[in-house]
Subunit: 361 residues, 2 copies
Amino acid sequence: MTVEHEPAAGRRAAVVCDRLLRALRLEPADATPVWFMRQAGRALPEYRAIKERCSLLEICRQPELCAEVTLQPVRRYGVDAAILYADIMLPLIGVGVELEIVENIGPVIAQPIRDAADLHRLRPLEPVQDVPYVLEGIRCTLGELRGSLPLIGFAGAPFTLASYLVEGRSSRDFARTKLLMYRAPDVWSELMERLAGIVSAYLLAQIRAGVHAVQLFDSWVGALSLDDYHRYVLPYTRSIFRSLEATGVPTVHFGTGTGGLLEAMRQAGGSAIGLDWRVPLDTGWERVGFDRAIQGNLDPLVLQAPWDVVRREAAAVLDRAAGRPGHIFNTGHGLPPATPPDQVARLVDFVHGFSRASRAP
Amino acid sequence: MTVEHEPAAGRRAAVVCDRLLRALRLEPADATPVWFMRQAGRALPEYRAIKERCSLLEICRQPELCAEVTLQPVRRYGVDAAILYADIMLPLIGVGVELEIVENIGPVIAQPIRDAADLHRLRPLEPVQDVPYVLEGIRCTLGELRGSLPLIGFAGAPFTLASYLVEGRSSRDFARTKLLMYRAPDVWSELMERLAGIVSAYLLAQIRAGVHAVQLFDSWVGALSLDDYHRYVLPYTRSIFRSLEATGVPTVHFGTGTGGLLEAMRQAGGSAIGLDWRVPLDTGWERVGFDRAIQGNLDPLVLQAPWDVVRREAAAVLDRAAGRPGHIFNTGHGLPPATPPDQVARLVDFVHGFSRASRAP
């Protein structure tokens, strides 16, 4: 793939609050940066009000509305980054895959991909034609942010996208996905190559539109053994990170249940590795290597606990990070709908205050 | 709890095939022992034939039938141990908890446990009165085995049992369970103490009835962070292993998704730690410590792959064990119903042959 008209890193708009970008470069900051996966969305009443009249796709397809939803958590929580409101399935919809995003279930694919004859449905992505509204949403959000905060773009990683395409919907055991891997390795590698191409084009387009960082969500890759990860996933994920290198834009590589995969995920790429709560942050970071940033890793359910539990568990995460530059505080997965917004705002204050105090001489 | 009439370890019936027991004592054996979680059950046509006329509970309540189902995989697969056909919910049914075991869903609890007022439903277990059929099933199976193979008994661990009792059925995020822990720590600790007492009495009764080893299934404990495991689970699990120590019977401590918990699970107890496939066996064993045995850890889905993939992935597990005494080959979780029995039998032969060859001078 030829990457044309790549903007130099320096051309990206500067931001006032640069904690996130400093952490991604392993530089010290005045406080630990904090944002949350799914911070834009279900936990916010102002989001649910919009959701009563618009579906997820309708929001994404209206750039002003997309920007509004993206900015709601920025206003409410005081986080250190905005993350574009979108869904990992958008580029697949862009290349013509028929799917629905069903409330409380997730993506449901009309005709799952099961063999070689299905692969033609995954043509290359032409971002400007296929997902113009995502790029417009980014520009609109950047306009609203006026350089106050960095904007994070994102995409689903090939394995996680493949799992939806093959299973037809979310799964507990990923049986069909793994059996495709094992039984038809050629179909699998072709599927993963096509997905890697789509994801790469999608992220490059987001970067061209101006996002300051991107996160690759390989949410379900923790279902695999290390050997299977190396054989069936790593080459494709690595090709995506390599294709982004020339842009200089920092990247986060995230998955859940990845306690057995951290070294391999580092190998695949990412300025930062995102951990879920199942790995203690200190040993997880040590395994990833202190020459990479680390993101995480409070159990998102904790935000529904009494405040003293939230504080205790958040302090434990920060203590394990030991004030080392390069820690981005986050939950270990998306915020559930039942998360009380006030607790999130209080947690952001706590993370800033606690980490600032720890840095004081 | 007073333990009466404890049989000395020496009184347990000797077995001809002692590979499993040798591995649990870290002693060398002629070949790596192998058995499978859920080896008795859904994958076998001779089991499904019985299941057409009897429910799981009806099988468990007829000792001869229970012994028959327990022995089916021994005949078919040539495994090195039998594991009693039973369900982790049996001791809870024994103390009067109303629940159903629903095909393809698992346990469904009529009235989930949600607060202090519900705890009285968990009275202490009196195994001889409450689960006589389990003990009779053990004696019957031992009679049929005639000392050819060891018989493994088992129980669910307090966290995993609690998760069913609190959620009411299986769960993906264990939200209610975690929120009970966080919001009502006193109720949680009382619940876990009662469950630990029940499990302990249940396993001691199985040991008195003659099982050669027991496995504690904490199948869902991998949902917790290390700090939460230490605070909310470890003391109760440890009390169970301590109560079994005087019997001298070896124990396996198993969970899935436990990549962040291995050192803590070792602390809680177990002659062996059971790993799922998400942790490479070599690094997992190193973290557990080579002074404990290790069990695992092939992805059970692999058994539905072509034979060359089964062989490759099984060899990778055996290579990671490096022929070190103390490895028990198993899948990383139960065999799925779609597992082809012929592949299982072939895998057993392969594990024996491969490991025997590796031991040859």
